[in-house]
């Protein structure tokens, strides 16, 4: 009999060819675990090619899932279980193994052809990689899947598509998970192709049973439901879905209909896809002819009174620069979402980075400051999007929301909030026949102009990219221009009066302050916890609001002897902080590999500081 071992948390990495269905397999494992009450964090790590050459290293697609019986904040650095569907997947992921890792391999792929394609020189991949001491399980996944479905009437190609279910079945056995949630998924997914419901279920069960029959698996694992999660109703959510829903929430709260003009681009596309689904809530989406049309249709929609949004990633964000200036000078509400990816240019499009910060802050002609905020976890994308909509409409300005591929594709359980708990959003909409209306007369507190929606009787006016005076008339007057430049900048600066103060995690003074922004939060937070366990005192200041910075930023920085700014670029936020608060010395820890930090890297960076 095997032993059941309790684990506080476990990391499982599914990897295979980009056509092997590893993203789905990982997602199903994560969803089942979330339903079982675990805390979950996921990290899809896939290539740009839809179907890269079979068996090649560049075509390896990975999906990492971490499950825990406590609150977890990262998908984990190294894996406890690696599923590798071919020799290339094994080679590509060996670096992520722990000494204690279990490795599940599809034995059928370790033939001469497969080994050669993955660059192995001998017939023994395990020895070549030096991982003989790991718990290696060679399971003939391909041949057993064929055997399992030999009477199914399916053709060979369709049969082989079920391989991932065999691997998933093995993992479900290994972690004592139920099969029902995945069966239910298959029933919905294939309701129009019932032959695939049966085949997927059968292979899933056969994989599970295979694992229970072989003796290679001595122990199975139990990760109990997370005990310290707050009570409530939960769902699993990825960052892009949360972001889309946050925008819808801001629309509902403000009473302004949601319009999204966008163009498909990795890794932002699924926001547009999610919004396109929501016609039931009156959301309008326009898949435009290009990125520029995406933002320009949104600007038109803002003029007509919608909560206007455009979503993109780095290269598309570059294309939107000119129009962003137009939105800024016309002072119309607009949310621009940039789900950052590795650049410059096309870069490594499916990999994560934080390299668009300076573009967001400064990438426009003329004096054009714009509010920049960032999301810090998949679920936080909801709140960040809500904030972006709120600030855009209440302050009458474009707002840039920076997300990251790591957040957009990653998922975590989310305690579902109630909209009644969210603040009101009150855009300064002009009433009909307001004879005093002048487009650029400002409110004293926020410096905002008022929003006269096209179609409102009696407030006809003209906006545009030319500099204008308060009454909306075009002006070339040098002093009017300078005043307007200052007023628009002051309006952005005043946003600091309306955002939360910076909260430091850990002691509010001490030797070392870690500083981060955006999607690195989980890793930085976990590093602080790990350092605490090593009796190293370190605190974390993580910024959701970047321009303007919270009022108490300098005060908080002043309480620490050393500041270490960690980010997935060459030091963009550190450089920005040097401009904003030059009285402090900023140490940097940077990584530009298209990959998230590991907790270990941060811990070492602090120790070596």
């Amino acid at each position: 009999m095997h032993k059941m071992i309790d684990l506080p948390d476990a990391v499982i990495r599914f990897s295979g060819d980009s056509g092997d269905g590893m993203q789905l397999t990982g997602t199903l494992f994560a969803d089942t675990s979330a339903l079982m009450g675990n805390d979950v964090s996921t990290f899809p790590d896939f290539p740009a090619e839809i179907r890269a050459p079979q068996g090649s290293i560049t075509g390896v697609s990975g999906f990492q899932v971490r499950i825990g019986d406590h609150k977890i904040s990262t998908p984990g650095d190294f894996c406890d279980v690696l599923v590798a569907m071919n020799p290339a997947a094994l080679r590509a992921n060996t670096a992520w193994l722990k000494p204690t890792s279990t490795v599940i391999l599809d034995a059928d792929t370790f033939d001469e052809k497969g080994l050669t394609r993955a660059g192995f020189k001998t017939g023994d991949a395990i020895k070549e990689l030096g991982i003989e001491n790991h718990n290696i399980i060679f399971a003939p996944i391909t041949s057993l899947t064929k055997e399992s479905l030999k009477d199914s009437g399916l053709d060979l190609k369709s049969i082989l598509r079920n391989k991932n279910m065999f691997a998933l079945g093995i993992c479900y056995f290994l972690f004592n998970r139920p099969l029902e949630p995945t069966e239910k998924y298959c029933e919905i997914k294939f309701r129009k192709k019932p032959q695939f419901i049966a085949s997927n279920k059968k292979v899933l069960h056969d994989g599970f049973n295979y694992a229970s029959n072989i003796h290679a698996i001595q122990n199975t694992y139990v990760v109990k439901p997370a005990a310290n999660l707050p009570k409530g109703v939960y769902r699993n959510i990825n960052g892009n879905q949360a972001l889309a829903w946050g925008l819808i929430a801001a629309s509902e709260k403000s009473g302004r209909p949601l319009f999204c003009g966008s163009y498909p681009i990795t890794p932002a596309t699924s926001i547009l896809e999610e919004l396109a689904l929501r016609k039931d809530l009156g959301v309008k989406t326009l898949q435009c002819e290009d990125e520029i049309a995406g933002i320009c249709t949104a600007i038109g929609a803002a003029f007509a009174g919608n909560l206007a949004v455009t979503t993109t990633s780095g290269p598309g964000f570059s294309l939107k620069s000119e129009a962003l200036g137009l939105a800024m000078i016309t002072e119309l509400p607009l949310v621009v979402v940039d789900v950052q990816r590795s650049g410059p240019s096309t870069g490594i499009p499916t990999k994560t980075e934080q390299t668009d910060l300076l573009q967001a802050l400064y990438g426009r002609n003329g004096e054009c400051p714009i509010v920049v905020i960032a999301s810090h976890s998949p679920a936080h994308c909801f709140d960040a999007a809500f904030w972006a909509g709120k600030l855009a409409m209440e302050h009458m300005m474009p707002v840039i929301l920076l997300s990251e591929g790591f957040l957009g594709n990653g998922s975590e359980p989310w305690k579902i909030p109630t909209m009644g708990d969210y603040p009101e959003i009150k855009p300064p909409v002009v009433a009909e026949n307001d004879t005093n209306y002048q487009p650029f007369v400002r409110d004293k507190k926020r410096m905002t102009r008022r929003w006269a929606l096209a179609g409102t009787p009696g407030v006809e006016h003209r906006l545009g990219g030319l500099e204008k005076n308060n009454d909306g008339q075009v002006s070339n007057n040098p002093l009017v221009h300078e005043r307007m430049v200052h007023e628009r900048a002051e309006k952005v600066a005043r946003v600091a009066d309306f955002i939360p103060e910076l909260q430091v995690i850990g002691p509010e003074q001490g030797d070392i302050l870690l500083v981060g922004w955006g999607g690195t939060f989980g890793h930085l937070y976990t590093a602080v916890e790990a350092l605490k366990a090593k009796k190293i005192k370190v605190s974390l200041a993580h910024f959701d609001f970047i321009n303007p910075l919270p009022h108490n930023t300098a005060e908080m920085f002043g309480r620490f002897k050393k500041i270490l700014v960690c980010e997935l670029n060459s030091g963009q936020f550190a450089g920005y902080l040097r401009m904003q608060h030059q009285q402090f010395a900023y140490h940097q820890y940077n990584k530009v590999q298209g990959q998230p930090f590991t907790v270990e890297e941060i811990v070492n960076a602090v120790i070596n500081l």
Binding site: K231, Y234, R235, G282, I299, F303, A304, V459, R462, Q473
Partner: protein, 338 residues
């Protein structure tokens, strides 16, 4: 409410050059809009004028309506956003040959392809005026300008051909000097559901003076243009004795009373014919061999983008059980931590 042209004039000083063809177009539009309001029961606040960059693109500042002066080439995209966000608005785009057909070509053809309900007025003076005299995508081959000192080596676009090629449902053409015809076309454009493009052959008095003289000169305008009206025979000429017939796969100019030709032989204009074959021949007619076609050349009924968006939203809303954000957040797989 009964409007007059005065109601559509803003208090802004019109800053186009004296003698510029744009003045006449502005007057034609301001004259047409009261009639549009009458016909369609529109109030002034429903009008939105959107433009890009170029001389013509200052147009919205001179209209006492909602207006948006955008950035170069992007007027079609901005106008599309306005219309989709609020389909009850009547959206007009003012653009030039550079704005619509060079930098904005992509947005222009896709607005037309979608058949979104916009009225696009394309001022074609075959030159870049605001940047002081460089050739445009409609400049004639060989045209000498500041950036083509030895003559252009590029073939020009014929805007009508582009519109029809992009599956346009409405195309009309007028001359800046034909104020009455322009007003008439503006009304027809407003009444058309879908993207309605009107090309105005417009004179730039400074950088391309007389570019359309070949057809606009009063001495031979009647012989070198033909004003098309749906259902009427294609007759033109100072003496109203010339007409168009089909000769095999081509149009041919004939004289009524010569060679046994009577009025009955002359083609009837059918602007509503979905097949663009004859419309394509009409937009491509060039002086001096053919009369240049003016008036509404094509006006075909088809579903508009904004109609389709509205219908789809209503259909999905009817079927969906999700009625608000709270419902959305709780849809699909959830679990409870007790």
């Amino acid at each position: 409410m009964k409007y007059t042209p005065q109601d559509f004039k803003s208090d802004q000083e019109v800053k186009w050059c004296p003698g510029c063809g744009n003045h006449a177009v502005l007057a034609s539009v301001q004259r047409a809009l009261p009639e549009v309001c009458d016909k369609l029961n529109y109030a002034r606040e429903r009008f939105v004028f959107v433009s890009g960059i170029g001389c013509a693109s200052r147009f919205p500042y001179y209209m006492n309506t909602f207006g948006f002066h955008g950035i170069h080439g992007r007027a079609s995209a901005i106008a599309t956003g306005v219309k989709v966000a609020n389909p009850s608005l009547t959206v007009w785009q003012v653009t030039g040959d550079g704005d619509a057909l060079a930098i904005g070509g992509n947005h222009f053809i896709h607005a037309i392809r979608r058949n979104i309900d916009l009225n696009i007025i394309l001022f074609n003076n075959q030159i870049y005026g605001l940047t002081k005299g460089q050739y445009s995508p409609t400049s004639k081959l060989g045209k000498i300008t500041k950036t083509s000192p030895f003559g252009t080596v590029e073939h020009p676009f014929n805007p009508g051909e582009v519109v029809l090629g992009a599956r346009g449902t409405f195309f009309a053409r007028s001359l800046d000097v034909e104020l009455k015809l322009t007003s008439e076309i503006m009304v027809a454009s407003a009444c058309h559901d879908g993207t309605a493009v009107t090309e105005i052959l417009q004179n730039c008095v400074i950088f391309n003076d007389g570019t359309h003289d070949e057809i606009t000169d009063k001495a031979y305008r009647a012989d070198r243009t033909i004003v098309l009206r749906h259902g009427e025979p294609m007759i033109f000429g100072k003496d109203r004795n010339k007409g168009l017939v089909l000769d095999g796969l081509k149009l041919k100019v004939v004289t009524i009373g010569e060679g046994g030709i009577t009025e009955k032989d002359i083609l009837l204009h059918d602007a509503k014919e979905p097949n663009p074959g004859v419309h394509m021949m009409l937009v491509n007619m060039q002086a001096p061999d053919y009369p240049v076609a003016l008036g509404v050349i094509r006006a075909v009924n088809d579903k508009t983008y904004d109609d389709n968006v509205r219908d789809q939203v209503l259909e999905v809303q009817r079927k969906s059980t999700i009625k608000n954000v709270d419902g959305l957040l709780r849809s699909g797989s959830t679990w409870e931590v007790r």
